[in-house]
């Protein structure tokens, strides 16, 4: 610990806090707080929490051996996907341990939702996983419909499936770009944004908003399809395969990209199940679990699609899995447009919904995995309890398991291959 002379330097606020705490403890007759573990590295090490370690795991990460140092990546770092913070223990360039520190984007969305009526909850969940806004609304909408005991009209279900698959395509497309960006390739992300912009414009023409669509309603969707949406959809459908292929050509067979992703961050199917990893990351490890197939919701049992898997479970497999799923989603969209029935898009629902007391659970397949909502009603206008399972939070658990023994450069590349979105992780 560096000695601070209050005469010459501005005192460190953390240091002052600790002195104050020690004074208060002494005044209250408590024993002074002491650091657990002899090798505790001290406060002058960047990245160490300003308190003694609380758990065995924390003590393990924050005690340094000869030749090791802690590198603090984030929350402000060029490639931490928002405000993720990783405390990386390195020996030279080799990662010894990784400690993800979360909560920099915590907004208490679950608590906010418990104070909002069922209709307005659907607006609060939008900015959770900000690359899968439609999916964020889908699960609570299904849960509340179960609570209230209504069925949305068939056409609403089809429009929901359509927008959700569109959202999945741009989310997976961006993952291709971000993965390349974290390895220093700057062009794929911009190509990915061409596709994303087209889809976002498309979705804004049906929902009225560009990013946080606020499109789902309890018992249906906000708007029916309109001419602009349909004509944009046609244009987009004509371009999308060309767009994806343009990006794929830059990445898929690139020798450097392959050398950096193949056999990198390999997650076996068994480990993935044990960690609770779902979605494309699980299927890339060879486990054929897709919520759309395993527990069909909405209209997915009426559509024809297969559960795609890849065997190897490395970063490259996770990348290929995304591309395969983009193509599958396009196939699904073709079917949805083919089969879409006529009719209303919104069931008759009162302005303020008061479901009977009970509980409901709804799970959907978001671009990052199994996204589910559990809601309890006490008969009032607001949910009594509202909880969300965010898949990227679960996927992040795999990072500390995969990183030891790899290089610092791979930390970011492997993390990007899991495609976490911090808005969802921190809620």
């Amino acid at each position: 610990m560096t000695k601070i002379d209050p005469e010459t330097r501005i005192p460190d606020p953390i240091e002052l806090d600790r002195l104050e705490e020690a004074r208060l403890r002494a005044a209250a007759g408590l024993v002074p707080a002491r650091a657990i573990g002899g090798e505790y590295a001290g406060f002058d090490q960047v990245g160490i929490p300003d308190r003694p370690p609380q758990t065995d795991r924390e003590r393990e990460v924050y005690s340094l051996e000869e030749g090791e140092m802690l590198v603090n990546m984030g929350p402000q770092h060029p490639s931490t996907h928002g405000v993720m913070r990783l405390v990386v223990k390195v020996r030279g360039e080799i990662v010894v341990d990784v400690d993800p520190v979360l909560g920099y984007l915590h907004r208490g969305i679950e608590k906010l939702c418990e104070n909002a009526t069922y209709t307005t909850v659907l607006t609060y969940v939008d900015p959770m996983d900000y690359l899968a806004t439609m999916h964020n609304e889908h699960a609570p909408a299904i849960a509340f419909e179960k609570l209230y005991g209504i069925e949305p009209p068939k056409r609403a279900e089809y429009i929901r499936a359509l927008v959700v698959e569109l959202n999945r395509i741009f989310s997976h497309g961006l993952m291709m770009g971000f993965l390349a960006l974290d390895m220093g390739g700057i062009t794929p992300i911009l190509y990915a944004f061409i596709n994303r912009d087209e889809i976002v414009d498309l979705l804004s023409s049906i929902s009225g908003q560009r990013m946080l669509f606020n499109f789902f309603r309890v018992g249906g969707v906000n708007f029916d399809t309109n001419d602009e949406f349909l004509s944009r959809l046609g244009t987009w459908r004509g371009n999308v395969l060309k767009n994806i292929e343009m990006n794929e050509r830059m990445i898929t067979d690139n020798e450097i990209f392959r050398a950096r992703t193949m056999n990198m961050g390999t997650l076996t199917g068994r480990d993935a199940i044990a960690l609770g990893v779902t979605g494309p990351n699980l299927r890339a490890s060879g486990v054929p679990f897709d919520v759309r197939k395993a527990h069909p919701y909405s209209i997915y049992n009426e559509l024809d699609f297969d559960v795609i898997t890849h065997e190897s479970g490395d970063s490259y497999a996770r990348y290929l899995q995304r591309i395969a799923e983009i193509k599958q989603s396009i196939h699904l969209i073709d079917q949805i447009i083919d089969k879409m029935p006529h009719g209303p898009v919104q069931a008759q629902v009162p302005g303020i919904i008061r479901p009977r007391p009970g509980r409901a659970y709804a799970a959907i397949e978001s671009p990052r995995g199994l996204y589910s909502v559990y809601s309890i009603s006490d008969g009032g206008p607001t949910p009594y309890r509202f909880r969300m399972r965010d898949p990227s939070f679960i996927s992040l658990q795999a990072i500390p398991k995969l990183m030891p023994g790899r290089l610092v450069a791979d930390t970011m590349a492997v993390m990007a291959s899991f495609d976490p979105v911090m808005g969802g992780v921190d809620k």
Binding site: M69, V71, P78, L181, M183, G184, A259, R260, A409
Partner: protein
Amino acid sequence: MDWELLLGVGRFLLATTLLLVLTIPTAFIIIQMELKVIASMNLRLGPNRVGPGGMFQSTIHGFKVLAKEDTIPDQADPSTFTLAPWMVYMAAAMSMLVIPFAPGAIAADFNIGIVYFFAVLGLSVVGLLVAGWASYNKYSLLGGLRSAAQMVSYEIPLTLSIVGAVVLAGTLSFSEIIEWQRQHGWLLIWQPIGLGIFYISSLAEVNRTPFDMVEADSELVAGPFTEYSGMRFGFFFFAEYVALFIMSGILVSLFFGGWLAPWPFPAQLGGFAGTLYGIFWFFLKTYIFVFIAVWLRATLPRVRVDQLMGMAWKVLLPLALVNLFVTAIAVVVFDL
């Protein structure tokens, strides 16, 4: 009074001043290329506000860097921290001394120009290492160590790759190598493997994508430059682009005939007109290679540090040795 000597000193001072001045527009032009070329490769517009078509954007960036506050971290070592940008910039500027722009337009036509060039260019790694160490920042330190490892490894295949060319031409002077190429055809035909090794190693030497491990922004933020701001950062930035220009210029001189046109040099062009003609071809060819480097940056991801090392020691170095061996035997056997 030794007028010969005075004239020599005066000529040298003039030439070095011109070269130092030349580094500024060179850096601006390459930065502008990087902004606009990569923009069009990314299917976006790029800067288009300052000047016609945004052509003064990089100049404005330069002035912005001048106007910024220059901070030195509390824990940094001020003397070495301030020395490092100067070392890196001077290494780049000094190696410009032997670049053959045109017949008669070389600041110093040493008979050991090639040796001088590699000796001086290697100095920049000292500056980067010092910057990484003096900054008191872990990213800087990792970046500085990476730069040391990378440059030391790539210096060896880089130097070995041109020994073949030197053996063929029988000289270490740039102007004589170009003269040899005028008589025998460009060294590109004689030394294709040497050219390949030289090009890959030179990208690594000047920290260009896909070998920009030193300032790998997605891992190390900005490597050794993380803590620098203002014009000190500007010097690093300038040095990097000037080094890219110099490397392309050396590549052109050694393998693509330097100031020679693709067809025989017109005999009636002598004196000043010949110099201008040479300068035109030199800059044209050099900027083609600068363009290719920018193109690579828009296309390729970055290799990992161990793959980078593996490539230098396991692929490029043996290949360079084989190339040198075969060339030497051919020179003896065919009496070239």
